[in-house]
Point group: C2
Chain length 212, copies 2
Amino acid sequence: MPLKPSNSIPDIVIGRLPLYLRALTHLRQEGRDVTSSHELGEKLGISSAQIRKDLSHFGGFGKQGTGYQIDFLIDRLRKVMQVNQEWRVAVVGAGHLGSAISRYRGFRDRGFRIAWVFDADPAKIGTKIDDFIVQDVANMQDIIRSNKVQIAMIAVPAEQAQQVANLLVEAGVRAILNYAPININVPPHVMVQYIDPVVHLQHMTYYLLSDE
Amino acid sequence: MPLKPSNSIPDIVIGRLPLYLRALTHLRQEGRDVTSSHELGEKLGISSAQIRKDLSHFGGFGKQGTGYQIDFLIDRLRKVMQVNQEWRVAVVGAGHLGSAISRYRGFRDRGFRIAWVFDADPAKIGTKIDDFIVQDVANMQDIIRSNKVQIAMIAVPAEQAQQVANLLVEAGVRAILNYAPININVPPHVMVQYIDPVVHLQHMTYYLLSDE
Protein backbone atom coordinates (compact mmCIF):
# COMPACT_ATOMS: atom_id res chain seq x y z
CA MET A 1 0.00 0.00 0.00
CA PRO A 2 1.64 3.29 -1.02
CA LEU A 3 2.08 5.77 1.77
CA LYS A 4 1.71 9.49 1.90
CA PRO A 5 5.04 11.29 2.31
CA SER A 6 6.37 11.17 5.88
CA ASN A 7 3.59 8.88 6.96
CA SER A 8 4.55 6.86 9.98
CA ILE A 9 1.39 4.99 10.91
CA PRO A 10 1.54 1.32 9.93
CA ASP A 11 -0.81 0.32 7.13
CA ILE A 12 -2.21 -2.49 9.29
CA VAL A 13 -3.44 0.16 11.75
CA ILE A 14 -5.01 2.19 8.93
CA GLY A 15 -6.77 -0.97 7.79
CA ARG A 16 -8.48 -1.29 11.19
CA LEU A 17 -9.76 2.31 11.32
CA PRO A 18 -12.77 1.62 9.05
CA LEU A 19 -13.82 -1.17 11.46
CA TYR A 20 -13.64 1.24 14.39
CA LEU A 21 -15.64 3.82 12.47
CA ARG A 22 -18.28 1.25 11.54
CA ALA A 23 -18.67 -0.02 15.11
CA LEU A 24 -18.82 3.54 16.52
CA THR A 25 -21.45 4.53 13.95
CA HIS A 26 -23.63 1.59 15.01
CA LEU A 27 -23.23 2.55 18.67
CA ARG A 28 -24.30 6.10 17.89
CA GLN A 29 -27.32 4.80 15.96
CA GLU A 30 -28.27 2.94 19.11
CA GLY A 31 -28.28 6.28 20.92
CA ARG A 32 -24.99 5.83 22.77
CA ASP A 33 -22.66 8.78 23.60
CA VAL A 34 -19.65 7.11 25.19
CA THR A 35 -17.83 3.82 24.69
CA SER A 36 -14.63 2.15 25.86
CA SER A 37 -11.74 0.29 24.28
CA HIS A 38 -13.08 -2.76 26.12
CA GLU A 39 -16.52 -2.51 24.51
CA LEU A 40 -15.09 -1.83 21.05
CA GLY A 41 -12.76 -4.79 21.50
CA GLU A 42 -15.64 -7.12 22.36
CA LYS A 43 -17.57 -5.99 19.31
CA LEU A 44 -14.64 -6.34 16.95
CA GLY A 45 -12.72 -9.27 18.34
CA ILE A 46 -9.66 -7.06 18.82
CA SER A 47 -7.92 -6.63 22.19
CA SER A 48 -8.67 -3.41 24.06
CA ALA A 49 -4.93 -2.79 24.39
CA GLN A 50 -4.60 -2.94 20.59
CA ILE A 51 -7.48 -0.51 20.16
CA ARG A 52 -6.02 1.99 22.64
CA LYS A 53 -2.66 1.74 20.89
CA ASP A 54 -4.18 2.16 17.41
CA LEU A 55 -6.22 5.20 18.41
CA SER A 56 -3.32 6.79 20.27
CA HIS A 57 -1.67 7.36 16.86
CA PHE A 58 -4.24 10.04 16.21
CA GLY A 59 -4.02 11.99 19.44
CA GLY A 60 -5.83 12.15 22.74
CA PHE A 61 -9.12 10.46 22.05
CA GLY A 62 -9.90 8.96 25.42
CA LYS A 63 -9.19 9.55 29.05
CA GLN A 64 -8.49 6.69 31.41
CA GLY A 65 -11.73 5.82 33.17
CA THR A 66 -14.05 8.11 31.20
CA GLY A 67 -14.04 6.29 27.87
CA TYR A 68 -14.28 7.66 24.35
CA GLN A 69 -16.78 10.32 23.26
CA ILE A 70 -18.37 8.57 20.29
CA ASP A 71 -19.25 11.68 18.24
CA PHE A 72 -15.79 13.13 18.67
CA LEU A 73 -14.11 9.88 17.72
CA ILE A 74 -16.34 9.41 14.66
CA ASP A 75 -15.53 12.94 13.44
CA ARG A 76 -11.84 12.43 14.02
CA LEU A 77 -11.71 9.07 12.24
CA ARG A 78 -13.70 10.42 9.30
CA LYS A 79 -11.18 13.24 8.94
CA VAL A 80 -8.19 10.93 9.30
CA MET A 81 -9.54 8.60 6.62
CA GLN A 82 -10.76 11.55 4.56
CA VAL A 83 -14.32 10.27 4.41
CA ASN A 84 -15.66 13.54 5.81
CA GLN A 85 -15.89 14.39 2.11
CA GLU A 86 -17.79 12.51 -0.57
CA TRP A 87 -15.71 10.60 -3.09
CA ARG A 88 -17.10 10.02 -6.56
CA VAL A 89 -16.55 6.46 -7.72
CA ALA A 90 -16.69 4.82 -11.14
CA VAL A 91 -17.94 1.25 -11.53
CA VAL A 92 -16.77 -0.78 -14.53
CA GLY A 93 -19.08 -3.63 -15.46
CA ALA A 94 -22.88 -3.51 -15.48
CA GLY A 95 -23.62 -7.23 -15.15
CA HIS A 96 -25.37 -8.77 -12.13
CA LEU A 97 -22.53 -7.81 -9.81
CA GLY A 98 -21.92 -4.31 -11.16
CA SER A 99 -25.65 -3.66 -11.01
CA ALA A 100 -25.87 -4.84 -7.41
CA ILE A 101 -22.89 -2.65 -6.49
CA SER A 102 -24.44 0.35 -8.20
CA ARG A 103 -27.71 -0.16 -6.36
CA TYR A 104 -26.16 -0.70 -2.94
CA ARG A 105 -27.15 2.18 -0.68
CA GLY A 106 -24.44 1.58 1.90
CA PHE A 107 -21.76 3.53 0.01
CA ARG A 108 -23.38 6.94 0.13
CA ASP A 109 -23.56 7.47 3.88
CA ARG A 110 -20.02 6.19 4.38
CA GLY A 111 -18.26 8.61 2.07
CA PHE A 112 -18.71 7.26 -1.46
CA ARG A 113 -21.03 8.16 -4.29
CA ILE A 114 -21.15 5.95 -7.34
CA ALA A 115 -21.34 8.47 -10.14
CA TRP A 116 -20.70 6.43 -13.29
CA VAL A 117 -21.25 2.87 -14.45
CA PHE A 118 -19.45 1.70 -17.58
CA ASP A 119 -19.87 -1.34 -19.79
CA ALA A 120 -18.70 -2.44 -23.25
CA ASP A 121 -21.83 -4.41 -24.13
CA PRO A 122 -24.04 -2.48 -26.62
CA ALA A 123 -27.07 -4.22 -25.08
CA LYS A 124 -26.25 -2.63 -21.71
CA ILE A 125 -25.04 0.83 -22.77
CA GLY A 126 -27.83 3.36 -22.39
CA THR A 127 -29.93 1.16 -20.10
CA LYS A 128 -30.81 2.37 -16.62
CA ILE A 129 -29.74 0.94 -13.27
CA ASP A 130 -31.86 2.88 -10.79
CA ASP A 131 -30.80 6.47 -11.52
CA PHE A 132 -27.74 5.64 -13.62
CA ILE A 133 -27.49 5.35 -17.35
CA VAL A 134 -24.85 2.78 -18.25
CA GLN A 135 -22.07 4.57 -20.16
CA ASP A 136 -19.97 3.25 -23.01
CA VAL A 137 -16.58 2.14 -21.71
CA ALA A 138 -15.12 3.86 -24.79
CA ASN A 139 -15.81 7.19 -23.03
CA MET A 140 -14.47 6.03 -19.67
CA GLN A 141 -11.02 7.55 -19.82
CA ASP A 142 -12.34 10.96 -20.92
CA ILE A 143 -14.92 11.01 -18.14
CA ILE A 144 -12.39 9.92 -15.50
CA ARG A 145 -9.87 12.51 -16.63
CA SER A 146 -12.27 15.43 -16.86
CA ASN A 147 -13.82 14.62 -13.47
CA LYS A 148 -10.51 13.74 -11.80
CA VAL A 149 -11.96 10.47 -10.56
CA GLN A 150 -9.54 8.77 -8.18
CA ILE A 151 -11.50 5.66 -7.21
CA ALA A 152 -12.92 2.87 -9.36
CA MET A 153 -14.44 -0.55 -8.80
CA ILE A 154 -13.89 -3.35 -11.29
CA ALA A 155 -16.79 -5.76 -11.75
CA VAL A 156 -15.91 -7.41 -15.06
CA PRO A 157 -14.97 -11.05 -15.79
CA ALA A 158 -11.50 -12.13 -14.66
CA GLU A 159 -10.05 -12.21 -18.17
CA GLN A 160 -10.90 -8.52 -18.75
CA ALA A 161 -9.83 -7.16 -15.37
CA GLN A 162 -6.19 -6.38 -16.16
CA GLN A 163 -7.09 -4.53 -19.36
CA VAL A 164 -9.71 -2.46 -17.51
CA ALA A 165 -7.21 -1.74 -14.73
CA ASN A 166 -4.68 -0.51 -17.31
CA LEU A 167 -7.23 1.91 -18.77
CA LEU A 168 -8.21 3.19 -15.33
CA VAL A 169 -4.62 3.74 -14.24
CA GLU A 170 -3.77 5.48 -17.52
CA ALA A 171 -6.68 7.86 -16.96
CA GLY A 172 -5.48 8.75 -13.46
CA VAL A 173 -7.31 6.42 -11.07
CA ARG A 174 -5.34 5.95 -7.86
CA ALA A 175 -7.44 3.41 -5.93
CA ILE A 176 -9.09 0.28 -7.34
CA LEU A 177 -11.46 -2.10 -5.63
CA ASN A 178 -11.29 -5.24 -7.74
CA TYR A 179 -14.23 -7.65 -7.64
CA ALA A 180 -12.86 -9.77 -10.48
CA PRO A 181 -11.41 -13.01 -9.08
CA ILE A 182 -7.87 -12.41 -10.29
CA ASN A 183 -4.85 -10.46 -9.13
CA ILE A 184 -4.08 -7.37 -11.19
CA ASN A 185 -0.79 -5.57 -11.59
CA VAL A 186 -0.63 -1.80 -11.24
CA PRO A 187 2.17 0.74 -10.81
CA PRO A 188 3.36 1.47 -7.25
CA HIS A 189 1.45 4.77 -6.99
CA VAL A 190 -1.87 2.94 -7.43
CA MET A 191 -3.60 0.95 -4.67
CA VAL A 192 -5.65 -2.19 -5.24
CA GLN A 193 -7.87 -4.00 -2.78
CA TYR A 194 -9.80 -7.16 -3.53
CA ILE A 195 -13.26 -8.52 -2.92
CA ASP A 196 -13.36 -12.24 -3.59
CA PRO A 197 -15.85 -14.16 -1.46
CA VAL A 198 -14.44 -17.53 -2.50
CA VAL A 199 -11.08 -16.66 -0.95
CA HIS A 200 -12.86 -16.19 2.39
CA LEU A 201 -14.90 -19.37 2.00
CA GLN A 202 -11.84 -21.45 1.13
CA HIS A 203 -10.03 -20.01 4.12
CA MET A 204 -12.80 -21.33 6.36
CA THR A 205 -13.28 -24.76 4.76
CA TYR A 206 -9.74 -25.62 5.81
CA TYR A 207 -11.09 -25.74 9.36
CA LEU A 208 -14.39 -27.52 8.69
CA LEU A 209 -14.95 -31.19 9.24
CA SER A 210 -15.25 -32.88 5.87
CA ASP A 211 -18.46 -34.73 6.73
CA GLU A 212 -20.87 -33.49 4.14
CA MET B 1 -10.24 -18.36 13.65
CA PRO B 2 -10.87 -21.69 15.41
CA LEU B 3 -8.33 -24.33 14.66
CA LYS B 4 -8.63 -28.04 14.12
CA PRO B 5 -7.12 -30.10 16.94
CA SER B 6 -3.33 -30.25 16.83
CA ASN B 7 -3.18 -27.82 13.94
CA SER B 8 0.14 -26.07 13.76
CA ILE B 9 -0.03 -24.01 10.58
CA PRO B 10 -0.58 -20.31 11.30
CA ASP B 11 -3.98 -19.00 10.23
CA ILE B 12 -2.29 -16.20 8.27
CA VAL B 13 -0.68 -18.87 6.05
CA ILE B 14 -4.02 -20.64 5.58
CA GLY B 15 -5.49 -17.29 4.53
CA ARG B 16 -2.97 -17.03 1.67
CA LEU B 17 -3.59 -20.51 0.27
CA PRO B 18 -6.76 -19.48 -1.63
CA LEU B 19 -4.72 -16.76 -3.37
CA TYR B 20 -2.12 -19.32 -4.43
CA LEU B 21 -4.85 -21.64 -5.68
CA ARG B 22 -6.49 -18.82 -7.64
CA ALA B 23 -3.23 -17.72 -9.28
CA LEU B 24 -2.27 -21.31 -10.13
CA THR B 25 -5.69 -21.96 -11.65
CA HIS B 26 -5.30 -18.92 -13.91
CA LEU B 27 -1.85 -20.12 -14.98
CA ARG B 28 -3.25 -23.53 -15.83
CA GLN B 29 -6.05 -21.91 -17.83
CA GLU B 30 -3.33 -20.13 -19.81
CA GLY B 31 -1.93 -23.55 -20.66
CA ARG B 32 1.03 -23.47 -18.30
CA ASP B 33 2.44 -26.59 -16.61
CA VAL B 34 5.17 -25.25 -14.34
CA THR B 35 5.65 -22.10 -12.29
CA SER B 36 8.05 -20.72 -9.69
CA SER B 37 7.80 -19.01 -6.33
CA HIS B 38 9.24 -15.97 -8.11
CA GLU B 39 6.44 -15.88 -10.70
CA LEU B 40 3.72 -16.49 -8.12
CA GLY B 41 5.23 -13.75 -5.98
CA GLU B 42 5.14 -11.27 -8.85
CA LYS B 43 1.51 -12.07 -9.54
CA LEU B 44 0.44 -11.83 -5.92
CA GLY B 45 2.68 -9.12 -4.52
CA ILE B 46 4.10 -11.58 -1.99
CA SER B 47 7.82 -12.31 -1.67
CA SER B 48 9.03 -15.53 -3.24
CA ALA B 49 10.67 -16.46 0.08
CA GLN B 50 7.30 -16.16 1.83
CA ILE B 51 5.65 -18.33 -0.80
CA ARG B 52 8.28 -21.05 -0.50
CA LYS B 53 7.95 -20.97 3.28
CA ASP B 54 4.13 -21.09 3.15
CA LEU B 55 4.06 -24.01 0.73
CA SER B 56 6.73 -25.92 2.64
CA HIS B 57 4.15 -26.43 5.43
CA PHE B 58 2.39 -28.89 3.17
CA GLY B 59 5.32 -30.99 2.06
CA GLY B 60 7.68 -31.16 -0.89
CA PHE B 61 5.94 -29.22 -3.61
CA GLY B 62 8.88 -27.82 -5.49
CA LYS B 63 12.46 -28.65 -6.20
CA GLN B 64 15.14 -25.99 -6.30
CA GLY B 65 15.61 -24.99 -9.90
CA THR B 66 12.76 -26.98 -11.43
CA GLY B 67 9.78 -25.00 -10.11
CA TYR B 68 6.35 -26.16 -9.08
CA GLN B 69 4.21 -28.58 -11.10
CA ILE B 70 1.00 -26.56 -11.39
CA ASP B 71 -1.45 -29.48 -11.59
CA PHE B 72 0.12 -31.22 -8.64
CA LEU B 73 0.12 -28.05 -6.55
CA ILE B 74 -3.51 -27.27 -7.43
CA ASP B 75 -4.59 -30.77 -6.40
CA ARG B 76 -2.63 -30.58 -3.18
CA LEU B 77 -3.99 -27.14 -2.22
CA ARG B 78 -7.55 -28.19 -3.02
CA LYS B 79 -7.15 -31.17 -0.70
CA VAL B 80 -5.52 -29.11 2.04
CA MET B 81 -8.34 -26.54 1.94
CA GLN B 82 -10.92 -29.30 1.43
CA VAL B 83 -12.29 -27.75 -1.74
CA ASN B 84 -11.74 -30.98 -3.67
CA GLN B 85 -15.31 -31.62 -2.54
CA GLU B 86 -18.34 -29.45 -3.21
CA TRP B 87 -19.76 -27.58 -0.22
CA ARG B 88 -23.44 -26.71 -0.19
CA VAL B 89 -24.04 -23.17 0.95
CA ALA B 90 -27.14 -21.36 2.20
CA VAL B 91 -27.68 -17.68 1.37
CA VAL B 92 -29.87 -15.60 3.69
CA GLY B 93 -31.36 -12.52 2.06
CA ALA B 94 -32.82 -12.36 -1.46
CA GLY B 95 -32.50 -8.61 -2.07
CA HIS B 96 -30.23 -7.10 -4.75
CA LEU B 97 -27.10 -8.39 -3.05
CA GLY B 98 -28.42 -11.86 -2.16
CA SER B 99 -29.71 -12.24 -5.71
CA ALA B 100 -26.36 -11.23 -7.21
CA ILE B 101 -24.57 -13.68 -4.91
CA SER B 102 -26.97 -16.46 -5.86
CA ARG B 103 -26.44 -15.79 -9.56
CA TYR B 104 -22.66 -15.55 -9.35
CA ARG B 105 -21.17 -18.45 -11.29
CA GLY B 106 -17.72 -18.19 -9.71
CA PHE B 107 -18.61 -20.23 -6.64
CA ARG B 108 -19.38 -23.52 -8.36
CA ASP B 109 -16.03 -24.22 -9.97
CA ARG B 110 -14.13 -23.25 -6.82
CA GLY B 111 -15.79 -25.67 -4.42
CA PHE B 112 -19.12 -24.10 -3.44
CA ARG B 113 -22.66 -24.68 -4.58
CA ILE B 114 -25.36 -22.32 -3.42
CA ALA B 115 -28.22 -24.68 -2.69
CA TRP B 116 -30.74 -22.54 -0.78
CA VAL B 117 -31.74 -18.87 -0.68
CA PHE B 118 -33.88 -17.69 2.25
CA ASP B 119 -35.85 -14.53 2.85
CA ALA B 120 -38.53 -13.35 5.29
CA ASP B 121 -40.36 -11.11 2.81
CA PRO B 122 -43.63 -12.73 1.63
CA ALA B 123 -43.20 -10.84 -1.65
CA LYS B 124 -39.89 -12.65 -2.27
CA ILE B 125 -40.70 -16.14 -0.92
CA GLY B 126 -41.59 -18.46 -3.79
CA THR B 127 -40.08 -16.23 -6.48
CA LYS B 128 -37.30 -17.52 -8.68
CA ILE B 129 -33.67 -16.37 -8.87
CA ASP B 130 -32.34 -18.25 -11.86
CA ASP B 131 -32.89 -21.86 -10.81
CA PHE B 132 -33.60 -21.18 -7.13
CA ILE B 133 -36.94 -20.73 -5.49
CA VAL B 134 -36.59 -18.33 -2.57
CA GLN B 135 -37.46 -20.22 0.63
CA ASP B 136 -39.21 -18.92 3.72
CA VAL B 137 -36.66 -18.15 6.42
CA ALA B 138 -39.08 -19.82 8.85
CA ASN B 139 -37.99 -23.17 7.37
CA MET B 140 -34.29 -22.28 7.40
CA GLN B 141 -33.25 -24.05 10.58
CA ASP B 142 -35.00 -27.29 9.61
CA ILE B 143 -33.41 -27.28 6.17
CA ILE B 144 -29.95 -26.53 7.56
CA ARG B 145 -30.25 -29.23 10.20
CA SER B 146 -31.58 -31.93 7.90
CA ASN B 147 -28.96 -31.19 5.23
CA LYS B 148 -26.11 -30.66 7.71
CA VAL B 149 -25.26 -27.35 6.06
CA GLN B 150 -22.03 -25.98 7.50
CA ILE B 151 -21.62 -22.77 5.48
CA ALA B 152 -23.93 -19.77 5.11
CA MET B 153 -23.72 -16.28 3.66
CA ILE B 154 -25.60 -13.41 5.28
CA ALA B 155 -26.92 -10.77 2.87
CA VAL B 156 -29.54 -9.03 5.02
CA PRO B 157 -29.57 -5.44 6.34
CA ALA B 158 -27.15 -4.69 9.20
CA GLU B 159 -29.86 -4.53 11.86
CA GLN B 160 -30.99 -8.11 11.10
CA ALA B 161 -27.56 -9.71 10.74
CA GLN B 162 -27.01 -10.74 14.37
CA GLN B 163 -30.44 -12.33 14.64
CA VAL B 164 -29.85 -14.29 11.42
CA ALA B 165 -26.41 -15.36 12.65
CA ASN B 166 -27.95 -16.63 15.90
CA LEU B 167 -30.44 -18.77 13.96
CA LEU B 168 -27.71 -20.14 11.70
CA VAL B 169 -25.41 -21.03 14.58
CA GLU B 170 -28.25 -22.65 16.52
CA ALA B 171 -29.00 -24.83 13.49
CA GLY B 172 -25.40 -26.00 13.24
CA VAL B 173 -23.69 -23.66 10.76
CA ARG B 174 -19.94 -23.50 11.40
CA ALA B 175 -18.74 -20.91 8.87
CA ILE B 176 -20.43 -17.60 8.03
CA LEU B 177 -19.56 -15.14 5.31
CA ASN B 178 -21.20 -11.91 6.42
CA TYR B 179 -22.02 -9.28 3.78
CA ALA B 180 -23.98 -7.13 6.23
CA PRO B 181 -21.88 -4.10 7.22
CA ILE B 182 -21.74 -4.89 10.93
CA ASN B 183 -19.69 -7.14 13.18
CA ILE B 184 -21.54 -10.16 14.49
CA ASN B 185 -20.83 -12.18 17.61
CA VAL B 186 -20.73 -15.96 17.42
CA PRO B 187 -19.48 -18.73 19.72
CA PRO B 188 -15.80 -19.72 19.43
CA HIS B 189 -16.52 -22.87 17.41
CA VAL B 190 -18.02 -20.77 14.59
CA MET B 191 -15.97 -18.81 12.06
CA VAL B 192 -17.02 -15.50 10.54
CA GLN B 193 -15.45 -13.66 7.64
CA TYR B 194 -16.60 -10.33 6.31
CA ILE B 195 -17.24 -8.74 2.95
CA ASP B 196 -17.61 -4.98 3.32
CA PRO B 197 -16.41 -3.00 0.30
CA VAL B 198 -16.58 0.31 2.18
CA VAL B 199 -13.96 -0.90 4.66
CA HIS B 200 -11.59 -1.41 1.73
CA LEU B 201 -12.45 1.93 0.14
CA GLN B 202 -11.96 3.84 3.41
CA HIS B 203 -8.64 2.10 3.88
CA MET B 204 -7.51 3.51 0.54
CA THR B 205 -8.89 7.04 0.88
CA TYR B 206 -6.54 7.56 3.81
CA TYR B 207 -3.76 7.62 1.23
CA LEU B 208 -5.47 9.68 -1.48
CA LEU B 209 -4.91 13.36 -2.01
CA SER B 210 -8.00 15.22 -0.93
CA ASP B 211 -8.28 17.25 -4.13
CA GLU B 212 -11.67 16.30 -5.43
